[in-house]
Amino acid sequence: MKKEDLPQEPGALSRLTRELCYVKNEEGKYETALSQGWDVKKEALDSAWDNVNDRVEEARRAVANGEKSPVYYFMELRLMDLTVLSGYTGFFTFFIKRHLKPSVFKGLSDRKLEKYAGAFDISVDELKNFKG
């Protein structure tokens, strides 16, 4: 890539920093240059977030319809999967899967709810009372 072809199209990252890139200068030698961003990347990131938002909305509906427990909604909201949530709570994925059922969730002890609330960065009340 030639230096003059380096895109300068601001995206989310440009709020924090410009990126260092290796480009060819006029003499055909490599040097570094800073880029504001590239729309091709920005759109890839946007499409990933569209997908995340769809999943969160789907999870919200599942909770509202009584199909899933609030754990499922907050897991999606925090971009987690079972493995990541298992890491933050210390519960095995086998148990987390059970806790996604509203009937099982209702009977969870406060100690367990605190673990989930801590992993999601919310209070136990917010977790318990989320209705979708």
């Binding site: 890539m1 060819k24 990347k41 990131l45 997908n51 298992s86």
Partner: protein, 343 residues
């Protein structure tokens, strides 16, 4: 001559990739002024390609354009006879005590962190990715002084914020992972030249003769075959998401597939000067070409996830572009191999 670790002021280094940046900055701090990001990347045989079978990340294909996390730092230090200390912890307090001790000794340290809770990152970038690297070079009251190689300048994190990212959970959980050069031996130009040759030869081996169909240049063909089937198998929506994921793996900070090819080109250009061998400078062009082709494929893929390209023939074209990249890279590494460097 063994130089004990010095205590002079730390200088931030911005880099295209976090682990290269940490390696470069820490080695320069210890007096290896010749160290540059391309040199660290090349000596560490950083260029790679793999599509890990049966694994998905963020609900998409698991593709990496670089070697394993930690390998660049390890290999580059080893080639230069630099002794490295690495530590992981099960206990947060112990991890912090160890870090504080190093800071008291004025030793800047590399640290593996997760980006999901990394407060200074823009929200859009905060996925559960646990192999980001940064340097901690000091502490003022509750604030740790942070040099993050992807940034233009330095920043800070509070004790609580830092502990949180050092103990992020999920795949590749950092577990407080901390690493730094312990002792630097005598370094001369001959050692550097040997390191360069070794780095190139290992990279040739990794890209051209690694067994299996999903890694090295053959891995690119593997992905290409997948792309041909995605539209029918997954439906257009999911297939476009998958392509978006490839582009993010390819062009975003910390992974940069196209960018890594340019970086390797820059490395070969520097190597040509170290080894007094113009053939390397010529081969640098081949990698520049590969980098340009990767970027062209990203533009084409963007057409799909923007909804402009929807036909099977578009997926076929993308797959063909990847096949072309495979042959360009394969040929470039075969030429590198035929140079018989160091013999």
């Amino acid at each position: 001559m063994n130089t004990e670790i010095g205590t002079e002021e730390f200088h931030h280094v911005q880099a295209a990739h976090c682990e290269n940046g940490v390696t470069t900055a820490l080695l320069r701090h210890h007096g290896l002024d010749f160290m540059t990001e391309p040199l660290a990347f090349g000596m560490g045989s950083g260029l790679f390609y793999i599509q890990i079978p049966f694994l998905t990340i963020n609900n998409g294909p698991a593709i990496s354009f670089r070697t394993m996390p930690g390998a660049i730092f390890n290999r580059t230090c080893k080639a230069l006879g630099v002794e490295v200390t690495r530590k992981k912890f099960s206990n947060q307090d112990k991890a912090q005590a160890f870090l504080d001790n190093k800071i008291k000794e004025s030793v800047p340290v590399g640290c593996q962190v997760g980006v999901f809770h990394l407060t200074y990152f823009p929200k859009e970038y905060r996925f559960h990715f646990n192999a980001h690297n940064l340097i901690i070079y000091g502490r003022e009251d509750d604030q740790y002084l942070i040099s993050d190689p992807i940034m233009e300048g330095v920043t800070t994190l509070s004790t609580q914020e830092l502990n949180r990212v050092r103990f992020a959970q999920g795949p590749l959980a950092p577990k407080g992972h901390i690493y730094f050069p312990e002792r630097i031996g005598a370094i001369n130009d001959d050692l550097i030249r040997k390191g360069i040759v070794k780095g190139i030869r290992r990279n040739v081996r990794d890209m051209t003769s690694i067994p299996g169909y999903f890694a090295g240049v053959d891995g690119i063909r593997h992905t290409s075959n997948h792309i041909r089937k995605w539209r029918d198998k997954l439906g257009l929506k999911k297939a476009s998401l998958y392509l978006g994921q490839i582009v993010r793996m390819q062009e975003e900070i910390g992974t940069g597939g196209g960018g890594f090819r340019f970086l390797y080109g820059a490395f070969l250009e520097e190597s040509a000067a170290w080894l007094q061998d113009d053939r390397l400078a010529n081969l640098s062009e081949d990698f520049t070409h590969a980098g340009d082709l990767w970027r062209a494929s990203a533009i084409k893929m963007a057409g799909v996830y923007k909804g402009r390209l929807t036909e099977q023939k578009d997926f076929e074209e993308i797959a063909d572009m990847l096949l072309n990249i495979r042959s360009v890279e394969k040929e470039a590494f075969q030429k590198l191999s035929k140079l018989n460097l160091g013999k």
